[in-house]
Symmetry: C2
Subunit: 575 residues, 2 copies
């Protein structure tokens, strides 16, 4: 176990769930400190991606009926490659076995047969017991947790693998809340589930995790974002080309430059990359170990026109923290096909347009006797043809296909005409730009990037240099001792600070140095000590976590001082 994992467990950030029952891989519980840190991280995300962008946030169930995932493609395609060891029975991700033991880096994109061949050719062994895996079948394993809804045989349901489908399936309602105006965004922070074959690396590849996803619905022909709002942001970009050339050099470009140079193709993607970078910096991700990596052509989902992953480096590995994808009209079109509702938005023209529209009005007294039960289908085919290719009606006869057979109808029986109609607008399928964040991964990276050890008064100290805004506790309040009224004064002060909206811990056990250490380890940026001088003049000692500097502050001002420090309006050194 790493020092960080050990601290995370000892101080209550996170640990494997249900360890008293042996635990199950891929499930973690956030302890008191971790749950508070996670909530604060989520709150800053809400502030940045919902409130300040004027987007909506919803809260949809995690158990989802099967037809949703038929439409989304998860039922068919949300698979990993599974190989089981004949010797020990352990299951492994076949592509990981290949990638970990050969030079091949993209086994994930290969068909299962090819992976079977590679395992045989390279004579790869089971990572658990060392037995040969050659000859074992490699199968697609669907990563959704399945359950059954209702009594008896019930109906199949799945734990959502992402929160996104909630925003897509409820789109018909959400667009009404948005008064049918594009662009608008709908977001969700909540649980996602993936029945990983072999979970690893704590919060990084868990089976149950928290996501924060924004689905931003845009008119593909509409106005883009106001890039002047992010003109100062420099994006550390690692484009596909540089990766393929095995380069490790990043471009440092503003969103505008990245678009002008063709590095990023979509304005909204560029905009959200900039907003994302600022957010990651705000919650404490080290910008020296942060980049946006473009998906390689083979990695890109077939519907995505561009995708960039925000990545943070921890212990030499790059962890995917976010994906920003341009998903085109894929999601809403799929649900439009499968569901019984309207996934389009009516786009009003600036002025009504007069357009020519070709229509048919077939002579059913002719089609009926001629085509019998197919007459209706012939009429439909004529109507579709008129809309598609009006020149087909130029001759004496029109040919259409019905159920695979060619059928010919005299043009005069089709009632073909071209009319002028006035349209006030048209129905369009919005495109989706999706910034999707893994909250647990962000929390993990923030902990890793802010965990530090230094030396204080000759002793090594563990310190979490978390930004004050996301620290589980903003201020620790200590009486020098719990006697002579010091305890009561400190307790009253703690209550006042809580009332002022601060997150406060009161601690009177052990010597002051030990209490400071305890707060340093959980990232509390400030500590206040009530001593005998406090009883006389109403001042207290305020101590800064990072520098361990101390100043005396009037207790009456403390709420304002701490709030301004937390919100970044003031620096400790200025006090």
């Amino acid at each position: 176990m790493s020092e960080l994992d050990e601290l995370a467990r000892r101080r209550g950030f996170f640990f494997q769930a249900n360890e008293a029952y042996g635990g199950v891989s891929g499930f973690y519980t956030y302890g008191p400190e971790g749950a508070a840190l996670k909530r604060n991280v989520e709150e800053t995300w809400r502030d940045r991606f919902v409130t300040r962008e004027g987007n909506m946030e919803i809260d949809a169930p995690t158990v989802t009926p099967e037809p949703v995932f038929e439409a989304s493609g998860h039922l068919d395609g949300f698979d990993d490659m599974l190989v089981e060891c004949a010797e020990c029975g352990d299951s492994h991700r076949a592509d990981h076995v290949v990638e970990d033991t050969t030079d091949i880096e993209d086994a994930e994109t290969y068909p299962t047969g090819k992976v079977e061949d590679i395992i045989a050719e390279h004579d790869l062994a089971c990572p658990s017991c060392g037995a040969p895996l050659a000859g074992q079948s490699v199968d697609e394993f669907n990563l959704m947790f399945e359950t059954s809804i209702g009594p008896g045989s019930g109906q199949p349901g799945y734990l959502r693998p992402e929160t996104a489908q909630g925003m897509f399936t409820e789109f018909p309602r959400l667009k009404e809340y948005a008064r049918n105006q594009l662009p608008f965004g709908a977001a969700q922070i909540g649980a996602g589930y993936r029945n990983e074959i072999s979970p690893r690396n704590a919060l990084v590849r868990a089976r149950e995790f928290t996501m924060a996803e924004l689905e931003y619905f845009v008119d593909p022909e509409g106005e883009g974002p106001d890039l002047s709002r992010v003109e100062d942001v420099e994006l550390p970009l690692y484009p596909a080309g540089a990766q393929e050339a095995d380069g490790e050099e990043y471009l440092h470009l503003t969103p505008r430059e990245a678009l002008d140079e063709g590095v990023v193709g979509d304005e909204w993607v560029a905009y959200f990359l900039a907003r994302s970078k600022a957010w990651f910096e705000r919650v404490g991700v080290d910008m020296e170990r942060f980049r946006f990596r473009q998906h390689l052509p083979g990695e890109l989902a077939h519907y995505a026109s561009d995708c960039w992953d925000a990545e943070g480096e921890v212990d030499g590995d790059w962890i995917e923290l976010e994906g920003v994808a341009s998903r085109t009209d894929y999601d809403l079109s799929k649900h439009s096909e499968h569901a019984d509702d309207t996934f389009t938005v009516f786009k009003q023209y600036d002025e009504p347009k007069t357009v020519e529209r070709a229509t048919v009005d077939p002579d059913m007294s002719y089609l009926g006797p001629e085509f019998g039960g197919d007459a209706g289908a012939v009429a439909d085919a004529l109507e579709a043809l008129a809309a598609r290719d009006r020149s087909a009606f130029d001759g004496d006869e029109v040919t259409v296909e019905v159920d695979g057979d060619e059928v010919t109808v005299p043009t005069e029986k089709t009632g073909f005409s071209v009319e002028e109609v006035t349209e006030s607008g048209r129905h369009i399928v919005p495109h989706v730009v999706e910034p999707a964040f893994g909250v647990g991964r962000a929390v993990y990276t923030v902990l890793a990037h802010n965990y530090d050890t230094d030396e204080v008064e000759g002793e090594t100290r563990d310190v979490l240099r978390l930004p004050a805004e996301v620290s589980p506790t903003t201020v620790g309040v200590f009486p020098l001792m719990d006697k002579d009224g010091l305890g009561d004064t400190a307790r009253d002060l703690a209550a006042d600070l809580r009332e002022a909206g601060l997150s406060v811990t009161y601690d009177d056990s052990g010597n002051i140095g030990r209490r400071y250490r305890r707060q340093d380890e959980v990232g509390t940026p400030y500590c206040v000590t009530v001593d005998y001088e406090s009883l006389e003049d109403g001042t207290v000692t305020l101590r800064d976590r990072d520098t361990t500097d101390q100043v005396r502050v009037d207790a009456d001002d403390l709420g304002d001082v701490l709030r301004s420090l937390r919100d970044g309006d003031r620096e400790f050194a200025e006090l």
Copy 2:
């Protein structure tokens, strides 16, 4: 659909999930307004039951391995009675069928055979199709959603039916964070799941729901709560006795009085009833339609020594909003038996105690030849007997039972002795007092209790009189029109108010009256209008939702004014 349900859907509070796919009973999505209301309700709960009580909050996974529910008893006992109609195939809760159509009120507590008999005797019919149900079997149906963790046959897992088990299974760690000091509380706000046979009544009996649970761990012999902190709270109590006498009269007692009169048996239960009442009032539950109903002896879980449900009345039905139960040492004892960890707390004595302890040191050279393979069991039985009843060793022979057989051993071979040992404390199993809230039910009741229609300027208006603290939006900001700089001024003002920590909506579409109505319907307590006067003198119109009164306020003071109104520090009439 009720007016409230219609409003809830139209204005984005809640609606059935995945309706584009027909929906599935018991699953609801909170729209933008509902998600915000729910978050605010949760936030006040956190403030009241976690922060101000100095408790911990954790965040555990929802997918839970089977052994946890073996220990908790859910695997065996978390059942409802199911009867299927032979004619139409619909499933029903057999006890509900009985209760809805006969005078019997507690069919839930009957064995399945008895319910089968009642159905036959009363010739009860299927509620869906009217076919007779007599002769159909009534079966126990486990309400946990089951799934499978990991590939292949995997291992069984269940979606937690309550959040409580997270606090119990992680107790060995939580007590360390609490530095082994009782009492302490651990809480969780999160999803719970029950695979209801026939979900009904929207958010009231859903299959996926949000709970807020506090597990408060106490020393059964320790100090109780400081009841002076709740001495002014009057509890509307509906004790079991009054219910059995078919009375509808409630007692109105303070916690102290309720304890002194023996109405409430446990001090911590009385304390949390008081805290709960204040919380329900704070979030907007109508105290005229609120009571605490004691569980009847038949309703009480076998381990619970007392339980009271907070109930709110909606449309003539009393909805269970919370249960406050004294769960004794049941939970931790069960986990202690089943799990591989310590669920006790070491309780230090004020001073070390010298106690006599009876021990044995059996002569194995005698027991071995005499009892063969049972010798160890005989030794264990002797040790247990010595701890239990030292007088058994007074005679020449000692008799113990081993595997059902009586075995006699000469006392001199037992090595019996009584020693004086010094103990600094002892291990105790904490008792649990649990206030467990249904968040969705609270949200639903708050909406129902605050939904109102009145008449404004001759027109009927729908208005949600939500407390400002939980309203999805605190203030709507409108320009009179979006021209002459009014729009820009209003947008700047909205941004400033957001910066000041308020939840703000900006709206410039439609006439002002319509914009007011829109905010009234979602419970926004205050609206601000920027007009031509604003451009001249910097004042704006501030309008109160409930009275529709308006005052002019300096725009620079608006943040402070609105915050103090929201926090209840000032009344609108005082402005």
